[in-house]
């Protein structure tokens, strides 16, 4: 449980980070909160030769309104997002989902940019960002570019970032008081989700729906979104949640059960978003 040898570079600006990435090439990994990267390094599943620590890059820690979007800096910690008044007022799905990530220690270290760049198919915040139709802003040797999040997550731990680029910002629409729901299904409260579903009413009148852990990446529930757009009921639309997904079978759940959960959680998230609560919501009531 000790990582293989590596060099460590600490940067304080985005420009320094980009320069360091250019210098060290593909052997380098960007370190922010470290709660995903360091465990796999300790297990020697990842063996980067250089870590470029951007956790001290102050210019990337912010949550602010810019026009009809909320812009969130990449090193914004989950805890900061959870407590951000701007986020709570403008895009309340995100601070709620941030509050459901891991445990307090993880939330005080983990960063939004880190969880997006890491591209784990079971991640909470990427699922919410996908439902919101976020834009990922990356920066590299040739400057900044924006990537729609629907084109960002390419495969299992694989993103659309080019070599030498890092995530610098996430931009999401201001959903304001529009409805939203997030249903996370875990064995234990602090675990990764077996499946999770995010649903949110977007300013353009559509509903964004996304799923965690239903394939190699977080997935947009396109069939559900289309059915809703056609005016189908929540129940009818949610039945399509597993369409186009490729859930794995592992020791936590098999594909059939995951597909069932995707339909159930999607239905529940949509109902919460629609303001229909009741006996079937996820929160437990004590006997």
């Amino acid at each position: 449980m000790i990582p293989a040898p590596f060099d460590y570079v600490r940067v304080s600006t985005v420009d320094e980070a980009v320069a360091a990435l250019a210098e060290h090439g593909e052997d380098a990994k960007v370190l922010a909160g470290g709660h995903s990267l360091l465990p796999i390094m300790k297990l020697r599943l990842a063996v980067p030769s250089v870590l470029i620590d951007i956790s001290g890059v102050q210019e990337l820690s912010y949550v602010r309104v810019e026009g009809d979007e909320v812009a969130i800096g990449a090193t914004t910690r989950h805890h900061e997002l959870e407590k951000s008044e701007v986020a709570q007022a403008e895009v309340p799905l995100l601070p709620h989902v941030a509050s459901r990530v891991g445990d307090p220690q993880v939330r005080h270290k983990g960063t939004l940019g880190g969880t997006v760049a890491h591209c784990d198919p079971a991640s909470d915040l990427p699922t919410a960002l996908l439902a919101l139709g976020a834009t990922v802003v990356v920066q590299g040797p040739s400057g900044r570019r924006s990537i729609p999040i629907t084109e960002f997550f390419l495969g299992f731990f694989e993103t659309a970032m080019e070599e030498g680029e890092l995530v610098v910002e996430l931009r999401v629409p201001r959903t304001g008081a529009g409805g939203w729901g997030y249903e996370k299904f875990t064995r234990r409260e602090n675990d990764w989700p077996i499946v999770a579903a995010a649903a949110v009413h977007l300013p353009d009148g559509s509903t964004g729906v996304a799923l965690a852990n239903m394939g190699g990446v977080v997935l947009r529930a396109s069939a559900v979104e289309a059915a809703l757009a056609e005016g189908k009921s929540i129940e009818e639309a949610a039945e399509l949640a597993a369409e186009g997904t490729s859930p794995s079978s592992d020791m936590h759940a098999d594909a059939e059960y995951r597909s069932h959960l995707a339909r159930l959680l999607t239905k529940r998230a949509l109902k919460v978003a629609a303001g229909e609560t009741g006996a079937s919501t996820a929160e437990s009531t004590a006997a």
């Binding site: 449980m1 297990l43 234990r188 020791m251 006996a279 079937s280 009531t285």
Partner: protein, 767 residues
């Protein structure tokens, strides 16, 4: 007023909370200065033949002082299995040689000694091990076929068998018979402190070994035996221990290896394993497949019960091999069943070896019979609490012999059930359950009832004993030496209370020492919930004897009749009865001549704590997820010395039992690769999954020791596991479900509902 029975706050805790514990890996003892670090190279194949081990690159790696493979072991002999009746062919090599077989993922192939610990992990990666895989035997079902035999020199995977098959007509006179195969799954002990050992050889030719364990004396004896050392040359010290749960009983081979390596290298050696290493290398628990068959009449009387156990021993059979005998002994549990049959067959597999784990054989008995009772109740349509009541052994104060061969000391099982049902509000719970079923709620209520009796201090009556040494010093303080080995239980507090009760010396002035074989050469350690009833009783006996010694000494000093003297709290010594403050102090009594007593307490027989649990779960019938909302328990362990600590034992036990019922299971893939070797994959229970426990008091003293105390360390686990499992099944029973195996994961519950409904739709019958 007596200090016994009061909530004395743990005297251990100020140090633990300020300085922190000093575990084996934290030691800064000067004898360990300049220690090398051992890193083991372990097999990543469950079953196969080693074809080559190339350590040449590792030997050149930074910081490497030595690399040992099987060729470098000199005259070290493989370690024979720890039970005399086991075939010597099951012996475990120190390192698997080229041409030899690895038997589980985690088997030892090489060991690296480095100046720094991190260099060891780098260098271990440089040891190239080639293994030709053989088919892995992952289940006892596969093991029983002997299609792949793990130890060719033994010739079979069958390790042991206990008991005979039941007669064919065993259930012939039963009106109703229900039978089911159930699983008591393999679980990890998972103490927060993983295994660790250090060793240093002195110029006097003795070796000092520090290691985390549950009994220094037993660990020392094993290590000396394995290394063929004169036991007098081995000094074993147990530092603070961060949990054991049975898996740290005795020594592990790695501990002895560290001592051998230190001798070879001529320098001290330290070793501390990673969590992943622990999750494959440390003894695991349970791992029984069971078939229960229960028969009786439709009025609820059970007349015959059969339990067939198949025990997975893991790769190298160890103590887990004989745990089914405890399961068999306790098969009848709290019930007066005229005919009880139990048998067990044990097999080697390519999993981690099985050992004792909190309850060790008894939880398996309780889980089996409680499942059987529920199945029987469901079959005859009777309330499960009522079926239990009909079949209980009546209250008794004189020893009672059971159909499965145990002799219980004292018990009142119906009273325990009554108390727990009343505290839980059982009738109202059933009413609420009925309302929810009527409404067709998504969240259905499940109520699980368990009754249990277990055996603690099971070594009693087999010539084992426990000792205590008590000394009062000239400064008025006292020291207790004990052969028990606390690792979280709080003996330093309780043993001091027992001495204080007799001497009147406050607990703050009494130091309790354990776990140093030079200071305490004999001792049975802490396991099987034996400590208070044997070690505590020995401390009590020592204190009584010491007062007698002091009384005689004081009588001479005071020129008084010894019978006229009594312990004088105000004066911290002894005074003439009725005239406190007039006698001699402990300090005076100890000034001229050492005031010390050594004594041995031998318990004639084990004790049998009992209780009853009610678990309430809410199950989301759409997802299958069950959440425990209430746990109400009666855990009668006889006389309680310190309720605070007893409650702590119940809390931990109950929680661990819930973990087995709902979450925990060690899993292997078909090639024997562990799937649950990190805490990300192995879900032990946490506070977020548990309600506050509702503990109901009940104390039925035992006549087997002067304290009246029975064991409490494992009882909570034994009661809670079947109660929670039963509650989950009960929550979906109205949907046709009769059984869900442990762990009752949401997927299993969801699937059980679906299968019950499909089969119900097809034939309108039961699951």
């Amino acid at each position: 007023m007596s200090i016994l029975g009061t909530r004395v706050v743990r005297t251990e805790d100020p140090l633990f909370l300020t300085r922190g514990a000093v575990y084996t890996d934290d030691l800064t003892d000067e004898r360990l200065a300049g220690a090398l670090h051992a890193t083991f190279v372990r097999s990543n194949v469950a079953h196969g033949t080693v074809t080559s081990v190339d350590a040449s690159a590792a030997r050149e790696a930074p910081g490497v002082v030595a690399v040992y493979t099987a060729e470098d072991l000199g005259d070290l002999k493989p370690v024979p299995p720890p039970l005399p009746f086991l075939d010597a062919g099951f012996s475990r090599p120190w390192l698997v040689p080229v041409g030899g077989r690895v038997h589980f993922v985690g088997d030892l192939v090489a060991v690296v000694l480095t100046e720094e610990r991190y260099q060891g992990e780098d260098a271990a990666e440089q040891v190239v091990v080639d293994i030709d895989p053989l088919p892995a035997v992952v289940t006892t079902r596969a093991a029983a076929t002997d299609e792949t035999v793990l130890f060719p020199e033994v010739g079979t995977n069958k390790v042991a068998a206990f008991g005979e098959p039941a007669p064919e007509d065993f259930f012939a006179d039963c009106e109703v018979v229900v039978s089911r195969a159930i699983t008591n799954q393999r679980v990890a002990a998972a103490p927060l402190e993983t295994r660790a050992a250090s060793a240093a050889w002195g110029e006097d030719g003795r070796v000092t070994i520090w290691c985390t364990n549950q009994g220094a004396q037993q660990a020392k004896g094993q290590i000396a035996g394995w290394l063929d050392l004169d036991p007098a040359l081995v000094h074993l010290i147990t530092p603070d221990v961060g949990g054991g749960f049975g898996a740290k009983i005795g020594a592990d081979q790695e501990y002895a290896f560290v001592a051998w390596l230190a001798q070879q290298a001529g320098r001290p050696v330290r070793w501390s394993e990673s969590r992943s290493e622990n999750m494959t290398g440390m003894l695991q628990g349970r791992a029984q497949d069971q078939v229960v068959t229960i028969g009786g009449s439709r009025d609820g009387k059970v007349t015959a019960y059969s339990l067939e156990v198949t025990q997975d021993c893991g790769a190298y059979p160890r103590i887990g091999t004989v745990l089914p005998t405890l399961t068999m002994l306790m098969a009848a549990a709290v019930y007066d069943i005229p005919k009880v049959h139990a048998q067990a067959t044990c097999y080697a597999t390519n999993g981690t070896s099985i050992g004792a784990y909190r309850g060790a054989g008894r939880p398996e008995a309780t889980a089996a019979v409680e499942r059987a009772m529920d199945l029987f109740a469901a079959e005859i349509g009777m309330d499960p609490a009522e079926v239990r009541r009909i079949n209980f052994i009546p209250a008794f104060t004189e020893p009672v012999q059971t159909s499965s061969g145990a002799t219980y000391d004292s018990g009142d099982y119906e009273a325990a059930l009554d108390r727990v049902l009343e505290a839980a509000g059982y009738a109202e719970l059933r009413a609420e359950q009925a309302r929810r079923r009527e409404r067709g709620d998504v969240r259905q209520l499940g109520i699980g009832v368990s009754a249990y009796v277990e055996i603690t201090g099971a070594d009693s009556g087999h010539g084992t004993s426990e000792n205590a040494e008590l000394e009062v010093h000239p400064d008025g303080t006292a020291t207790v030496l004990t052969g028990t080995s606390p690792h979280g239980q709080g003996h330093a507090t309780t043993w001091a209370m027992l001495a204080s009760e007799q001497l009147g010396i406050p607990v703050e002035k009494i130091t309790v020492l354990h776990g140093d074989t030079d200071k305490v050469p004999d001792g049975g350690g802490t396991m099987g919930s034996r400590s208070l009833q044997q070690g505590g009783a020995a401390v009590h006996q020592a204190a009584v004897e010491l007062v007698e010694v002091a009384r005689k000494r004081a009588a001479e000093l005071l020129e008084a009749n010894p019978d006229d003297l009594e312990v004088d709290l105000a004066n911290a010594g002894l005074s003439v009865k009725g005239t406190p403050g007039t006698g001699v102090t402990w300090a005076q009594l100890a000034a001229d001549e050492q005031l010390i007593v050594q004594t041995t307490f031998t318990a004639n027989a084990p004790t049998f704590p009992f209780g009853a649990h009610v678990a309430v779960v809410e199950t989301d019938v759409e997802s299958g997820k069950a959440v425990v909302t209430r746990l109400v328990t009666v855990d009668d362990a006889g006389t309680i010395i310190n309720p605070l600590l007893a409650e702590g034992q119940r809390h931990g036990g109950i929680a661990q039992g819930v973990g087995q019922a709902l979450l925990e299971e060690i899993l292997y893939d078909e090639d024997g690769n562990p799937q649950t070797s990190t805490f990300a994959d192995y879900p032990f229970v946490s506070a977020t999954e548990l309600p506050s426990f509702e503990l109901v008091e009940m104390a039925t003293p035992t006549p087997m020791n002067p304290l009246g105390a029975k064991g409490i360390g494992e009882a909570g686990t034994i009661g809670s596991t079947p109660a929670v499992q039963s509650a989950v099944v009960d929550s979906v029973a109205h949907l046709g479900v009769r059984h869900v195996d442990m762990p009752a994961t949401s997927m299993r519950v969801w699937r059980a509902i679906r299968e019950a409904q499909n089969s119900g739709a097809q034939k309108g019958s039961t699951n």
